[in-house]
Symmetry: C2
Subunit: 147 residues, 2 copies
C-alpha cells in the first residue's frame, strides 16, 4: 500500500513580511470559513529530511539542556520515519485574491510543501494538564501560559 | 516530487479492551522515553477515504447543528486532499513486550495505518484562547474545559 500525500500549497517566507502559506488555486475553495478560526494546524513535508538515512533515524537527543536520549516519537526531531512537520499557527490574515494564509510564525523553510491544514479545535486539540519530561520544562509557551 | 508516508504501526481495536497502537517492532526503539509524556499526537492514514473522489473533495458541512458549508481545511472532514487523520490521545500504558501504546480513545477504525507519533508539547501545541465558529461551540471538551 502506498500512502501518497498531496501538496496543497507551499510555505513562503519573504524578507520583511510575515510568513504565509500560498495555497494552490485549485484548493482555495477548501479555505471557505477558515477566517472564523484563530489558529490552524499545518502539516508539511520536511523535504530536506526526506532521505533514507534520516528516515531510518530512530533515536536522538533533543537540543535542550539536560535532555536524555529519546526515541523520535518522543521528540519533535525532523529526522523521523515519515518526515511530516506539525505546526500550530495563528492566522494573521487571509488574502483571498492571492490565495494566501498569512500566519504569525512558521518553523519550516521557504518553499516547503504543505500537505494539509486543519482548524484548531480546543475541544479535541487543547490539553490543559499535559505531562512532559523535565528537559522540556524551559520551553517558551507560544499560545498559553506555562501552568 | 512524491511524498510517501511510512507506516510505523497500526491502530488496533479489540472487543472489551482499550484501543492501542501496535508499533512495528523495527520502530519500537523510537518510543524510548515516550512514557514521560501524558499525551501524544497520532497521525494516521484515512485509508477508507484514500480514493480520487474523496481526495478531490473541497467543501462540506460539518455534521453539527447550524453548521455552514465550509472548506475542508476549515473542517476535520476525512474527505480531504491528503487523507491524514490527527488525533490527540492520552497514554494509558506502554506495553514494552508487545510493542503497544495503549490509549484512552482512538477515532480511527481497527487496522488503520499510523504514519507518525509526536509527543504533545503544551509550549507549542496548547492554545488557551482559540476562536472557532459558533457551530463548534457545543463540542465536548476532552482534555480541557470549554473556557
Amino acid at each position: 500500500m502506498e500512502l501518497k500525500a498531496t501538496i496543497i500549497g507551499y510555505v513562503r517566507k519573504e524578507e520583511g513580511i510575515a510568513p504565509y502559506i500560498e495555497i494552490d488555486r485549485k484548493y482555495w475553495g477548501a479555505t471557505l470559513n477558515l477566517e472564523k478560526f484563530s489558529h490552524i494546524i499545518i502539516l508539511w513535508w520536511i523535504t530536506e529530511r526526506d532521505n533514507q538515512e534520516d528516515r531510518s533515524n530512530i533515536q536522538g537527543t533533543p537540543p535542550v539542556e539536560n535532555a536524555e536520549l529519546s526515541g523520535v516519537f518522543a521528540t519533535r526531531s525532523p529526522r523521523r520515519p515519515t518526515p511530516v512537520g506539525h505546526t500550530i499557527c495563528s492566522i494573521v490574515e487571509i488574502d483571498q485574491e492571492r490565495c494566501r494564509i498569512i500566519v504569525d510564525h512558521m518553523d519550516a523553510f521557504d518553499n516547503t510543501p504543505v500537505i494539509d491544514i486543519k482548524p484548531y479545535l480546543p475541544s479535541s486539540d487543547r490539553v490543559s494538564h499535559a505531562k512532559t519530561p523535565k528537559w522540556f520544562d524551559d520551553n517558551v509557551y507560544r499560545y498559553s501560559s506555562g501552568d
